[in-house]
């Protein structure tokens, strides 16, 4: 059975190779090849899953060793896979949602002449993401980690002729590279500390080393997670990444790739458990990002960017939960899975709206769309109810668990974290209600575009609506299904461990509080956007609103300090290199051997004098050796 693991990766990898090298003759069938291979990977995953369920909780993990990758003295890097419950969860999410989004893209990208290439990139992404989650060591994980970064780069910049898309793609890759620095250093630290970077040996040996080392490794892993999962301070790329086609936003920048940081932290649980300071840093990053993303999400008029802020915020919840240690690991992953359903569904819904609205993204130019797009409205609405945590839907269970876990952390820290997560829930309810009202309710506000085309909102084709329906189904039922009898906890516990913590307040109280903030958030949004007509041009807004529209000025800071500063630095260095370094070296040479003078009067026939000096050198050599022999 373990021999099937490599096939999980092989199927989409084959698809990528065939589609990207195949040339134009595959244009007509390319999307089908891509979709079938994605589905094949899902089927293999499902087979492995049923097999796994048939075994006892303790021996569910499978291993497959393919070959020794970089055999160098003292350094052992293998291409080897490990499929345990944690990896399995991701495999099903990635291939399941991935297949749905392949199907959706058939319709969404129908009129794009480079559709074959798009599917090639999507398959490449699936292969890399699967390597990331089934690698059995950190170096192979790194391959997947950068592989998804590459796929993300290619897909954000898919419409390369748009300068904004090309810039956004480059930015995403660069910011991620900063995070990758963290992953590199973490792996190097593991190597010098443990002599290996395979999950098994490293995570077993954490008890034998100092807390300082574990803290250092943990912080570096956190840096890596910040890059990939768009957490403060490396969050700035995610909003721009919305330049990519919407299916990409749904798959990569909502459901799967951006959650890789959560996977990394949960996978490295043993390291963080031994490093409380690193854990503290993790919860702080999570808490800050969950508010940051939520605030940004409130201010954006671009539907995709509002959802991107929301993604950032929801991943903040997951990171926070992962930073709580064994109290939170399971819930981090559970929220990750339910979020995968509802956020992918919301993005596909947004794509469907754009599809019917001439690619308009400004929500102020939507309004009243529920009448024109009933299926989109219904599925988007269910996703909306799920994300705000409406009782009984997926988000209700998974988010509530995180809020409870935050309180259960205990002490002042517990109260602070609990309050932040509650505040986040209120803001979530606000901004999502805003999105819902602006898009589907109120009066129609669309106008003819610059060329005079009036949008004719219409429902999207079946290939797009069916994936939305399936995801809506998951948004509604997944949370409840996971929570009945603590199914999800029992499933993951053998891998991640689980601890109930000591909650200062009862679960019922927390749930009640969550309901209260939910109602407040929805009510405020209704007062602001539901009760009165929405202006087509955004009002100037308060200072906070204006800052939030500009991603809380983080980009401005980056631009001034990093971009401008960097430009000045490189420009002055170019000058220095040209004048100073070159000059000093030439000058030194001149003072030593008059070379500079020759440099100036360099002309033809120079080779002759070179030959002379060569000859001279050889003569000196011979003379010297002769002399020595005589002596």
């Amino acid at each position: 059975m373990e021999n099937l693991i490599a096939l999980l990766v092989a199927a989409p990898l084959l698809g990528a190779a065939v589609l990207l090298c195949g040339g134009r003759r595959l244009d007509r069938a390319g999307h089908w090849i891509g979709t079938v291979l994605a589905a094949a990977s899902f089927v293999i995953g499902a087979v492995l899953f049923t097999d796994m369920l048939g075994r006892g909780a303790e021996d569910r993990a499978l291993h497959q060793h393919l070959y020794s990758w970089i055999p160098v003295e003292g350094f052992q890097a293998d291409v080897a896979f490990q499929l345990d419950q944690l990896s399995m969860t991701f495999v099903l999410l990635i291939t399941g949602v991935g297949t749905l989004i392949h199907i959706y893209s058939i319709g969404y990208m129908e009129h794009d002449e480079r559709r074959r290439r798009f599917f090639g990139y999507l398959n490449l992404f699936l292969a890399a993401m699967l390597i990331l989650v089934i690698a059995d060591n950190y170096l192979l994980l790194y391959v997947g980690w950068e592989g998804v970064g590459l796929a993300s780069y290619l897909l954000i910049g898919f419409w390369q002729h748009k300068p904004s898309a090309a810039t956004a793609a480059k930015k995403a890759f660069l910011v991620n590279r900063v995070g990758d620095m963290g992953l590199s250093i973490a792996i190097m630290l593991m190597f010098t500390t443990f002599g290996t970077f395979a999950f098994g040996p490293v995570l077993e040996a954490t008890g034998d080393t100092s807390e300082g080392k574990l803290t250092a490794i943990g912080l570096m892993l956190l840096l890596a997670a910040c890059g990939k999962s768009a957490q403060v301070p490396l969050q700035s790329w995610l909003g721009d990444a919305m330049e990519g086609p919407t299916p990409v936003s749904a798959l990569i920048h909502a459901a799967t790739m951006v959650t890789a940081g959560v996977y990394l932290i949960v996978r490295s649980g043993a390291i963080f458990n031994g490093a409380p300071d690193a854990q503290l840093a993790v919860v702080v990053v999570g808490a800050v990002t969950l508010l940051f993303g939520a605030i940004v999400g409130c201010a954006k008029d671009d539907i995709k960017k509002a959802l991107a802020g929301s993604t950032m915020s929801q991943i903040g919840y997951m990171i926070l939960a992962a930073g709580l240690g064994p109290i939170g690991y399971v819930f981090a992953i559970m929220h990750l899975v339910t979020h995968g359903f509802f956020k992918a569904g919301l993005f596909l819904g947004a794509g469907s709206v754009m599809h019917g609205m001439n690619d308009e993204v400004d929500m102020r130019k939507y309004g009243g769309l529920r009448k024109f797009m009933p299926v989109t409205f219904l599925t988007f609405g269910l996703g909306y109810l799920a994300i705000i945590g409406f009782p009984g839907l997926s988000g209700f269970f998974s988010k509530d668990m995180i809020i409870e876990a935050a309180f259960a952390k205990g002490g002042t820290e517990g109260w602070i974290l609990g309050s932040v997560t509650l505040l986040g829930a209120a803001i979530t309810a606000f901004y999502m209600t805003r999105v819902m009202l602006l898009t589907f309710f109120g009066e129609k506000r669309w106008q003819p575009d610059a060329e005079g085309h009036e949008p004719h909102p219409h429902e999207s084709p079946k290939s797009m609506t069916i994936p939305m329906i399936v995801l809506a189904f998951g948004s509604v039922f997944a949370g409840g299904f996971f929570s009945i009898g603590d199914r999800f906890v029992h499933w993951l516990e053998p891998v991640t461990g689980h601890d109930h913590g000591h909650a200062p307040v009862s679960a019922t109280t927390v749930t009640a509080a969550t309901m209260v903030v939910l109602v407040i958030g929805v009510a405020v949004a209704w007062v602001m956007y539901g009760r009165k007509p929405v202006p087509v041009v955004a009002p100037r807004g308060s200072l906070l609103t204006r800052a939030a529209r500009r991603d809380l000025l983080q980009d401005d800071f980056n631009h001034v300090v990093l971009v401008r500063g960097g430009e000045h630095l490189t420009r002055s260095l170019v000058y220095v290199d040209h004048t100073l370094v070159d000059g000093v070296v030439n000058g030194t040479a001149a003072s030593m051997g008059g070379l500079s003078g020759r440099l100036r009067k360099l002309q033809n026939g120079y080779a002759r004098s070179y030959a002379v000096s060569m000859f001279g050198g050889a003569a000196v050599l011979i003379a010297a050796t002769l002399l020595m022999r005589a002596v």
Partner: protein, 536 residues
Amino acid sequence: MSFPLLTATAALPAIGAIATAAVPAARRTAAKWLALTVSLATLVLAGIVFARFEPGGERYQLTESHAWIKDFGVRYELGVDGIGVALLALTALLIPFVILAGWHDADPSPSSQLRSSRGGPNETNPYHWRPTQGFFALILMVEAMVVLSFVATDVFLFYILFEAMLIPMYFLIGGFGDRAHAGSDENAAAQRSYAAVKFLLYNLAGGLIMLAAVIGLYVVAGSFSLSEIAEARADGSLDMATSTERWLFLGFFFAFAVKAPLWPLHTWLPNAMGEATTPVAVLITAVVDKVGTFAMLRFCLQLFPEASKWATPVIIVLALISIVYGALLAVGQRDIKRLIAYASISHFGFIVLGIFAMTSQGQSGATLYMVNHGLSTAALMLVAGFLITRRGSRLIADYGGVQKVAPVLAGTFLIGGLATLSLPGLAPFVSEFLVLVGVFSAYPVAGVVATVGIVLAALYVLVLYQRTMTGPVREGIGGMPDLKVRELAVALPLIALLIFLGVFPKPLTEVVNPAVQHTMQDVQKKDPQPEVEAAK
């Protein structure tokens, strides 16, 4: 006596060079095919060397030894170790691509034909006379010398080759410039000869200092034979005073640091790579410069282990400066070829860093790095050359939107770029990570500083790609043809190799590992042990 395989591998391109040069002027195409055939035959011989080399066997294999200048103890002594065999293979592999990529670079240029038909004065100007035969003959000559320098185990023999290869390189740089030049022809010629002479003088200065050290070594050791000296040093029969060893080390190291090149001796490289034709630029950075880093491993570490350790802190700092400085300068370039040249300076910093980390991972990484850098730079630079030839400009600002009109060209360029930024899955990642780990385990701070290089590499590669390939199609780009068969024959095999060695580097690590262990014994260094013996 067995067949002198190593001599044959070097002699074949040398004879081929003479034969190519002798092809009559009118038979230009025949000369090209001859040169290509010779380079492919050399590749076959190199392949046989690689296959016959036994990783677990003697340190130097396929040895040959003949008295040469008896009076001074100079011998024609050859032998190949794991590091030499890897670089030999790289050289033999790259030359056919260099020749194929430069197929039309030495054809008579339309302007010079025009002028000479009018009987203008330029006919006598050597810079406008493009003897095709000479171009390809010189390339083969460089190959012969480089190959021999990788297998020479006599210090004097090595020195002669190290210096002699400057001559054909000088003519290749100065005589056959890039036609895509912003200025007038005269201006271009002036800049070209400036670059060629600068190349020559820098390397000559290094060479002369090395010469003094070579003499000094002979004075002290009484022999030029690498194995004899190393043996005598190991068993204690040759005792070198600390200061003598240091002076000799510095003499050798200086020459290699110019060639490599290491900051602040690097400024000749951007000039030379910018002005030369792209295949020659590849020849400089991917092949000839490797002799410098190779010689650090072979001569500095093996002959002067104590002095090498003494100098390590300074060299590590210089290497780190090269990495960061080279990358920052690459970001600031406006000329595609100079950008790649500065990127190479950054990469040479990594190689030197790996060598002087003196750990198994660092040195294996450095050796692999030499090979992988050769492949990745060749891929990126040669495709850049195809691009430059189409547009007739080296300036980044003259490009934009190329992917729209020539997607295959853009795609291969991107893969070359991704290899340059060491994307995992491609060969350079393996070597770069090994170097980083090797350095980090010995010098943690240096390891952390070096990782900055991975961010900066992404910056210069992606900025270059964005400005040239994406965005709206710029004036002068529309109608640009995509890669032709000859160009695909250059780009695709290189890309295939980059992927293969990234996924499965074992064929290389296998031959390199034992050689590295020998070097580790030479310098008497042991790898730092992990803090915790992790449960196996």
